[in-house]
């Protein structure tokens, strides 16, 4: 995975969206074996039946979340774990691991943050009727990428 950027300080965090997108693209290519491409957010909102999240603590405090529908989450699990990966737990494990790797890859691209920012354990929420709220009150960056034509939202919410 490519490393380093010129974005060192929090004052540039509004410019981090391309770094998140690069981190997502690299993780999908390596872990899922396919290329994802950035899509227009307004036209491609995923049905958020699965939300994987990882907490960031230390130099950066916030969360990184990956959201998609159940079919897409299942497809990611099969690509990562094989065609027999069809249980709810395997799907949650796969999406949680993708989220964890995106967060780790993203923070490693921020010069000087890699060793001062730590990740918590991933957690995954699934279901047909839930709302997800973060108490982070700072910058929120979101991108939507297409995986086999299906939208996946990746969101970074930071504490101010």
């Amino acid at each position: 995975m490519t490393t380093d950027t010129s974005l060192v300080t929090r004052s540039h965090e509004e410019n981090w969206l391309p770094i998140i997108e690069l981190a997502v693209e690299e993780v999908f290519e390596m872990m899922v074996g396919c290329r994802v491409k950035v899509a227009a957010q307004s036209e491609n909102k995923p049905n958020e039946e699965f939300t994987a999240m990882v907490g960031l603590a230390g130099a950066l405090c916030g969360i990184l979340a990956v959201c998609c529908d159940a079919k897409t989450a299942g497809e990611i699990a099969k690509r990562m774990l094989g065609d027999t990966a069809d249980s709810q737990e395997q799907v949650a494990d796969a999406l949680g691991e993708i989220c964890n790797m995106i967060a780790g890859n993203f923070k490693n691209k921020l010069s000087g943050s890699g060793d001062r920012c730590m990740l918590s354990v991933p957690t995954v929420i699934s279901g047909g009727e839930y709302s997800f709220h973060s108490l982070a009150d700072g910058t929120c960056l979101e991108t939507v990428l297409l995986f086999e034509g299906a939208p996946i939202a990746v969101r970074l919410q930071l504490e101010s």
Partner: protein, 166 residues
């Protein structure tokens, strides 16, 4: 808000092997936060108490020396009562219930880690998140020790769980 109580700082568990004997610390951290933030004493529920309905789940991540998550889970009505006890009787919106439960979870996690001698400065918390809804599953990828305590707040169960990574 504060009623003169303080959170007790140190415990006898200087270097516990991961997760061992930490349930009493989690229980004490929970009781202290309810007493200071909501002005009420909570009692530990018996194992036979009914399971907590999954209306609201607040999550705080732990990173560093301890890696895992702390969750606080209760029904929607209980989350609303916690918000009113914390913010006043006018706190009746779903957003205020979310904020109040997230803050409770954050304080319980912070109080718990402060009780672990030598861990405090090497363990950090992420921002709280809260899930609400009628139908959802919560799955943590933590593979280590897991411990849970259930307390009664206004006769309704509130579950506090610590899940650690190996």
């Amino acid at each position: 808000m504060c009623c003169g109580k303080t959170m007790t700082p140190v415990t006898a568990f200087a270097k516990p092997s991961r997760g061992q004997n930490w349930l009493p610390l989690l229980e004490r951290a929970t009781q202290e936060v309810f007493e200071i933030m909501l002005g009420c004493q909570v009692t530990r529920a018996e194992p036979s108490e009914p399971k907590v309905p999954g209306g609201f789940t607040a999550i705080v991540g732990l990173a560093g020396a301890l890696c895992g998550v702390v969750t606080v889970c209760c029904g929607a009505k209980t989350a609303g009562q916690i918000a009113k006890a914390m913010l006043g009787d006018t706190a009746d919106s779903a957003g205020q219930a979310v904020d109040a439960l997230g803050e409770m979870c954050n304080m319980i996690a912070g109080n718990f880690k402060n009780k672990l001698t030598g861990t405090d400065e090497r363990c950090m918390l992420s921002v709280p998140s809260v899930i609400s809804g009628g139908e959802y599953r919560f799955h943590s990828l933590a593979q280590g020790n897991s411990m849970e305590t259930v307390v009664l707040f206004e006769d309704a169960p509130v579950s506090i769980r610590l899940q650690l990574q190996n």
